[in-house]
Symmetry: C2
Subunit: 635 residues, 2 copies
Amino acid sequence: MTLSDEVRIALDGKWRHVREKSRVELAEMNLAYDLDLDLDAARERTFAQLKELVPTGVPASGFRTENGGGGDPGMAVTGIEMLAQFDLSLMVKAGVQWGLFGGAVENLGTAKHHALIPQIINLDLVGCFAMTETGHGSDVQSLETTATYDPSTEEFVIESPTRSSRKDYIGNAAKHASVAAVFAQLITRGESHGVHCFLVPIRDEHGEDLPGVITSDDGHKGGLGGVDNGRLEFHDVRIPRENLLNKYGQVDEGGAYSSPIENVNRRFFTMLGTLIRGRISVGGSASASAEVALSIAGRYALKRRQFGPTPEQEVLLADYRMHQRRLLPLIARSYAYRFAQNQLVARMHRLQTTDDPDPQMARELESRAAGLKAAQTWHASRAIQDSREMCGGAGYLAENRLTTLRGDVDVFTTFEGDNHVLFQLVAKELLTAYASEVGGLDPVGMVKFVAGTVTDTVRERTAASQLIQRLIDARPGRSDDDHDLLDRGTQLSLFEDREEHVLETAARRLQRAAKADPDEAFRIFNNAQDHVIRAGKVHVDRIVLEAFTAGIARCDDEEAADLLREVCTLYALVTIEDDLAWFMGHNRLSDQRAKTVTTLVNEQLEKLRPHLLTLVEGFGVPESTLGAEILLDQD
Amino acid sequence: MTLSDEVRIALDGKWRHVREKSRVELAEMNLAYDLDLDLDAARERTFAQLKELVPTGVPASGFRTENGGGGDPGMAVTGIEMLAQFDLSLMVKAGVQWGLFGGAVENLGTAKHHALIPQIINLDLVGCFAMTETGHGSDVQSLETTATYDPSTEEFVIESPTRSSRKDYIGNAAKHASVAAVFAQLITRGESHGVHCFLVPIRDEHGEDLPGVITSDDGHKGGLGGVDNGRLEFHDVRIPRENLLNKYGQVDEGGAYSSPIENVNRRFFTMLGTLIRGRISVGGSASASAEVALSIAGRYALKRRQFGPTPEQEVLLADYRMHQRRLLPLIARSYAYRFAQNQLVARMHRLQTTDDPDPQMARELESRAAGLKAAQTWHASRAIQDSREMCGGAGYLAENRLTTLRGDVDVFTTFEGDNHVLFQLVAKELLTAYASEVGGLDPVGMVKFVAGTVTDTVRERTAASQLIQRLIDARPGRSDDDHDLLDRGTQLSLFEDREEHVLETAARRLQRAAKADPDEAFRIFNNAQDHVIRAGKVHVDRIVLEAFTAGIARCDDEEAADLLREVCTLYALVTIEDDLAWFMGHNRLSDQRAKTVTTLVNEQLEKLRPHLLTLVEGFGVPESTLGAEILLDQD
């Protein structure tokens, strides 16, 4: 077993068997995206690939055994993530069908709906997940589509009242879906009960729009050419009462509404919470695509030479300090996110395979999934972009795959929640310590809610944290040697302390809104918005460092663990370096100590340079499946 | 005249008449990129558009009147930049034909070659600019292609000796060019005289490869689908002696080499220097495309609402603090770069229309063009990407143009010089104060050279700068009120002081290489590489702030000038905020004062928010030519 193998095993985590199987199976399927195909042909090809996936067992794994599934949520997410190593169009299309559409049917529906799941698994029933509207993306509680109950026929009438209420950007909607899981305001007896999900047939067996349904095509996009994103409009579309996915809300024949969850906000967020796997898959897949890009750029840096001490002695790109500065911190961050992702998937799996899941744990998981998704998708966009630039002009040629990855992953920062909104959500949960009362996502609801609950929460946090005081005491005047920046404990303390401080100060700003009118409350929220979002970000930095540390602790091979520790140190140092002004300005690092950070980073780059190939191989993307011509050239 | 008009006039600069004419003419040409076309059709369409440009006079403007041109270099660059507002494929194709290929013939050739220029202008002769090789991009002095003189036939023999010596990524090479301007090592009488440029016919009248020439296609790219980038290989290709573009180097019938410039480095960089317009056009066009993207995102932010104090009272994106934080600093930076670009173009025009140009001025101009190109192209990539994200899912649809812009502009950070290499070049020039001796771009040549010349230079610089001392004195202990961060003088001093300090410390590190052997010299250079590149970057920050200030001074309208001053302040503040740790760590800003920077930025955002539409309109991209469906929607 080589060191690369040991590192890969550590990174592969608990579902290594799924990864190993996928590496072999998917490599045989010829999944590389073909830019010569036009839109229609590309979509048909991806759809055909989707069918090839059915026998692998990954599609079934996400569903419960009693519904005909494999009962292995961890496998489902890992399997989807592995698709991202090959083609993101296929990953998205699989995620839409089995994760979002299938997930809605299983998690929001009841027994009568679950009967559909075998057909969903084997693609006899192809659906789409119609949540987002042209005018409402992040603010899903304000969706405009209505589902009005008509007791005379025992039907719901689905209606798109405005142009902005069109369902938009919906994967599978332009072509392949015959049914849509439509999120709409449920209205019965003249009263709205908030957003619920309905199964709405949209196409007949010839692919023609059903009466009252208008489907249209979003056309070309920045990438994901194999995914048929489209729009849906509904005009007086009638569906049977049974098509309401009624686990969390029911309407009886006469039109009486009932729900096991009284509070409308809590009901809505409980529904959304059951769909958490989508967000986890998006984050994980973005990370996987970053790993592919860094594998290409890393291998190219070990192959391409430029300039040098003498013309005969050209130097490898990987040996240039600036190139190391560009490449290695991105690799370190990818390692960090992979460990965090593995931990997240394991927790999700535990929660979703428990009979009586702890609601507090569920909330924490949702918040963590939101924050990681934001961090991972931005990282992926950046890592792929920088990888492209690190390969120069060659990086711009589609034959080297980076531009396709870049175009495909771009929208990941937007879908399953805009990243800024997600960090804001993370901050809100932290500020309220997951209070049992759930506020909405609208700023005023949020700020009023936070203002009402925050005081005790922050006080408890402050009291609980023993580490803070130690660090706050370490202001100039005390010796800097008190904390060694290479010590993991010091790094963790710095991250934790920063998080506490940013949260606490954000809370203090928001508290002023407690007694304000809505306009004033909005103003207070808005003035602090960048501060609040920052609280979400620094929280994620902290949990990622913790997850990295925990992941290394599980690595049995001593040599691999040593190397991973060095990678973790680089992640910690560059994260501190990125926010150095804060650590200095808040007396967590003296000016003198702060100046050493860049030197320490550079020393870490030198330490890791000899292991570059090992680190790249550790990602576990076989060279043969990277799909970059540049690595095949024999100069 | 509205305020927007006045702002636009200020931004339009000296070649406003060209811009105004282009806005009208190009809008009538239906130039929007069509993603439904396959590669071949897209290239033919762009080529047809190129022909439409001939009558506008822009193609002719870049050539000297005695050669049949318009003699207006400023117009040529401005006209190319305007194309970028419509389609970057067309801009690149125009730049390749008239700027690079035509520019090489005019600037490196002599009278016999100049006779070709009328055919180049009217596209009877289509060429390509074959400099980059698969194995040599930034390091053009190490090109492997050879041109060996054979006195027996009075011919040069062009040869691609290795796979890495293929000419690669060459625009027009895959299809449309019949002639290539090939850069190759000139060898005569067994001696190499460095890189020279040769006119090599590559295709016959039927578009077939000429004997010994192998053309091939780079295929799909991350964007620029209308440009036929390709590869060229030469095997025993014979061209007449006259095909050497012989202004800077000549071989007589018998094979004797002569040149007006003795030093081989200086000769090479003099040749490159004559091609400066390419770099200026790339930077300016990148800026233009950023302006288009920000015009789309800015207008969308004034249209799209989300959340709000009450559901009936949704708030415009433009009113969210976080959205302002994302949008307005990018707009401010775009303003800054436009003023810097206008200044650069004016200086280039002056230099290129003078009979006896000052070589010192030429060198400064080259360095400035390199630095601005790097800054502008990275800014464009980021601004377009952020604009895409600011438009959410809609931003990802090709119908809203942002993804096409993003894909097209991506390679601008790489071509006409990798941005890191360009900043390194800027730093080198600063460190040597444009010493008359020109070193190569290889690290060891550079570091030895710098080490040999740097001492006096740095000493002079240090003595010359009166401002530094004032600022260094303003260390903690002195009142912070000594410098008001909103004061332009303070900002300029901070930028200048930072530049001096970074340069001086870089110089001190490099000086150690003076007596080192090549390996050790390389090590010294390499350890300081990130520091050196940073010196180039902070220099550009400073010259851009100066150019912005100078541009405002030329604005006659008082109200417009007031607004521009506020925009300039935002640019200065966010630039300081980006590097806050440096200003703190080097005692240029106390911790207390540093903490106010973010508050000042936020106050500046509030001040500028009411002027958002004016600022967008100031870019001078008419709404009708933005080509974004999203702005046409009537909700």
